[in-house]
């Protein structure tokens, strides 16, 4: 990517690009924020159609009030009846504050505000590893493993498929090219499906790699050994993600590169005697990059949604596995919270790709595309 950045700055003046990208990003950020708000609101409405969010809120109020009462010596000294009355009064105030006595729509708006600041209530049955019962802690604790797995897989996927596509476009019609075309239909299957096969081959039959999990049990003490252990556990899930999308990506990108390499200006460059590498970089990759990034973005979003099962199959202690366990335990607050976090993650993904898009496509201007 640094190559491309240099190219951009070489051709336009840097401040120009910077202003364009920053202002574009800012508007996109605002627009995406509103989009995310609407998306999360839809989630809440769906959940609250059966009154489930109300339940979560009531449980949260009861929990905090009980905690308050039992840690407040002034209330504890009161006779039992007065204490009971006091507690009921506190619960009533809490419910009013959260808008539980209001009609459905305005109540749901209150919940939206809570969801946006990730005040997601208490889990019914699950605990975070540190023992907390706050949904926010349970979920945030699971976020780093998920990000580690998917960001590394995505980066690997992007660069691997780009280089493969370029080299196939160079030697199209070769045996390798035909193999990739033949394998492209396998991308119909999601990553977890390939994960099953990878586990079967490399864990069950060959016993080379672990069946699942993130580190050895017990975890190694030294940080180098720990990292090595995590890396060993990452091989199969990352492999499954890459395997599930790479052939289709390589196939469609190499076709795209081929279409572009028959353009007149590429022929001219070739006639000028420019080296292949320069032609590829400056005349083929550069103009196709925006389209490729868009395609990649859509693929990325597909991978996110497949994360739940992939993490479950590989027993990876991430967000998806937490969601899976919450389904098994019927822990509604955690299910709702995880859904909201996924909406955030998708919004962030879209935002990052928007910025990349603005960086590589000089045509992107506020007036045309950037309107929220």
């Amino acid at each position: 990517m640094s190559d491309t950045l240099q190219m951009v700055s070489r051709r336009h003046r840097l401040p120009d690009t910077l202003v364009r990208v920053v202002s574009y990003s800012a508007t996109r950020l605002v627009a995406l924020f509103f989009t995310a708000v609407v998306g999360i609101f839809v989630t809440i409405l769906v959940a609250n159609m059966g009154g489930y969010v109300d339940e979560i809120k009531r449980a949260e109020i009861r929990e905090t009030v009980t905690l308050q009462v039992f840690t407040d010596p002034k209330i504890m000294r009161l006779p039992a009846e007065a204490r009971e009355r006091r507690m009921r009064e506190m619960i009533r105030i809490g419910e009013e504050r959260l808008g539980l006595d209001r009609p459905f729509l305005s109540r749901s708006l209150f919940y939206l505000r809570d969801a946006l600041v990730l005040r997601l209530g208490f889990a019914e049955r699950m605990n975070s590893d540190s023992g907390s019962r706050l949904v926010r802690n349970i979920i945030l604790e699971r976020l780093p493993p998920t990000l580690l797995l998917f960001v590394s897989a995505d980066l690997l996927l992007f660069f691997a498929s780009m280089f493969m596509a370029l080299s196939l476009a160079r030697q199209y019609g070769s045996v390798l090219d035909r193999i990739v075309i033949a394998l492209a239909p396998t991308s119909a299957a999601p990553a977890w499906f390939f994960g099953i096969f990878l586990i079967l081959i490399f864990a069950a039959v060959l016993r080379w790699l672990p069946f699942g999990g993130m580190v050895d049990v017990p975890p190694p003490d030294r940080s180098v050994a720990y990292a090595a252990s995590v890396l060993k556990h990452m091989v199969l899930p990352v492999g499954a993600i890459v395997f599930s999308t790479i052939f289709l990506a390589v196939y469609s990108w190499r076709t795209f590169f081929l279409i572009f390499s028959s353009e007149d200006y590429v022929e001219v460059a070739r006639a000028k005697g420019l080296p292949t590498r320069v032609i590829e970089r400056r005349y083929i990759l550069r103009p196709t990059l925006p389209t490729i990034i868009t395609g990649f973005a859509l693929g990325l979003i597909g991978i996110w949604t497949g994360a739940v099962v992939l993490e479950t199959v590989f027993n990876w202690p991430g967000l998806g596995q937490a969601l899976f366990r919450a389904v098994g335990l019927y822990d509604i607050p955690v299910i709702l919270g995880a859904t909201i976090i996924y909406a955030y993650l998708l919004a962030i993904t879209v935002f990052i790709l928007d910025i990349l898009y603005a960086l590589v496509d000089p045509r992107v201007k506020l007036s045309r595309e950037g309107r929220p």
């Binding site: 492209a184 239909p185 979003i301 949604t305 497949g306 389904v327 859904t339």
Partner: protein, 439 residues
């Protein structure tokens, strides 16, 4: 249409894809006729009662075709076909002796042994004594007890017998003391001596020697024949994939065309909804709906369609923007065609070349989505599907335990349907979009 067909025939992948799809459709039709819906559900939810004479985790019988594999089949001996001797022993008591004999030709041990009783009596249940005679002529007394009307004596799980024999009954009872690694081949006899205390009392018994291979697809850990689920998974997958693909592509197309044609705030609204739709996480939402409201396949199907209505509008938008400016639309407008007529009769048909390949490649992704929901445990509560078999296998640790057939068979079917549609879709793409063809 005939042009498309003759062009398609030039692509071997298209022919292969069509053949696979045809096969799957044939299987679906056969399944729905041969095993009606209610029967399939009854069988799959039957539990021990329906399947109790099947072995657990048995391999498919075609494993025996592989070189070097010889798995014992299940042997069932019924007393109705065995020699029976009845004597009166006085005091109104009858003694019934049944000899259940069978040949055991295999080189591996059976997995379980059980005797199923069928006793009829008014007040006092018959008393039975079981004796085992291996081919070497010795005799082992297994035990004696009262036979219930539909009692099952699982010889393999009799702890007392296990202690007396000094090992698992299904192994000790079948091995020669000199060479305990291999079963003794030959004729075995289980003699059941029953004492009937009533004149009208009746006793029958069935000995089941559970094998290691069963049916064309094997069994799971609940003794269920996997064939039922593999067969019924086909129509479910086909129906789900097709309906979801039809529902989402057609509605997407109509919405994209309407947005482009009317423009203005309609278009703006559709684009905004598309953006929101991109951010709404589909699988977690489906999981939420499955947990909170309903797991019925049809509800999930409608939500899937609803979530994907706006997902593809971007692709078609670009196309329709071009179409909108074409002269023939101008002509239609000049003769006074209404808005709706232009959208439905003039704009939509132009999208078919883009639509059809996409539609075909979309089907497997919905098939896999259904399997994904099964894996999360949110499959339809009644229907047996491929995904559910995978889920059961995963929960039972099938890969860890070496029951590969349990995972590989549904996975192969999923892969097959995915490949069939994807191969056809790729070929259609080349036929309809000639720019790809020379590459």
């Amino acid at each position: 249409m005939s042009r498309v067909w003759s062009e398609l025939r030039r692509y071997p992948t298209a022919v292969a894809g069509l053949a696979i799809i045809g096969l799957l459709v044939a299987i679906s039709i056969y399944t729905v006729i041969a095993i009606p819906y209610g029967e399939a559900i009854r069988l799959w939810r039957g539990g021990e009662g329906v399947w109790s004479e099947n072995p657990r985790n048995a391999r498919p019988i075609w494993f025996n075709l592989l070189p070097g594999v010889e798995l014992p089949r299940t042997i069932t001996v019924s007393s109705q076909r065995a020699p029976r001797r009845v004597e009166a022993v006085g005091g109104g008591v009858k003694q019934v002796t049944m000899s259940l004999a069978f040949d055991f030709p295999y080189r591996t041990f059976p997995t379980e042994l059980a005797v199923f009783f069928d006793a009829a009596y008014a007040e006092r249940a018959p008393h039975v004594v079981l004796t085992w005679q291996p081919p070497d002529g010795s005799e082992i007394r297994l035990g004696e007890f009262t036979a219930e009307p539909h009692g099952i004596y699982r010889i393999s799980s009799d702890q007392r017998l296990r202690q007396t024999l000094g090992g698992a009954p299904e192994i000790v009872l079948f091995s020669a003391p000199a060479a305990p690694q291999h079963p003794l081949r030959g004729r075995y006899t289980l003699t059941i001596t029953g004492f009937l205390f009533e004149e009208s009392a009746h006793l029958d018994a069935r000995l089941v020697v559970y094998g290691r291979a069963h049916g064309l697809a094997g069994t799971d850990d609940q003794r269920r024949d996997l064939m039922i689920a593999l067969l019924w998974g086909t129509p479910v997958a086909m129906a789900f994939g097709l309906l979801a693909a039809v529902g989402s592509t057609v509605s997407t197309l109509v919405i994209a065309a309407i947005g482009v044609w009317y423009g203005g705030w309609v278009d703006g609204l559709i684009q905004r909804i598309t953006e929101v739709n991109l951010i709404v996480p589909a699988v977690p939402i489906l999981i939420m709906i499955g947990t909170l409201y309903s797991r019925s396949l049809w509800i999930i199907l409608s939500v899937v369609i609803l979530l994907s209505v706006f997902a593809g509008t971007k692709t078609y938008r670009a196309l329709f923007l071009q179409v909108k400016e074409s002269p023939y639309i101008e002509a239609a407008r000049s003769y006074g065609a209404g808005n709706l007529r232009i959208v439905l009769a003039y704009m939509l048909p132009r999208a078919v070349p883009v639509l059809l390949p996409q539609f075909v490649t979309l089907i497997p992704s919905f098939v896999f989505l259904e399997a994904t929901l099964d894996i999360v445990g949110l499959g339809d509560p009644l229907l047996p599907t491929w995904g559910k078999v995978l889920d059961d296998a995963y929960r039972a640790g099938a890969l860890f335990g070496g029951y590969y057939y349990w995972v590989l068979q549904p996975a192969a079917l999923l892969m097959l349907s995915g490949l069939g549609f994807a191969m056809l879709g790729f070929a259609l793409d080349r036929v309809f979009n000639p720019r790809l063809r020379e590459l």
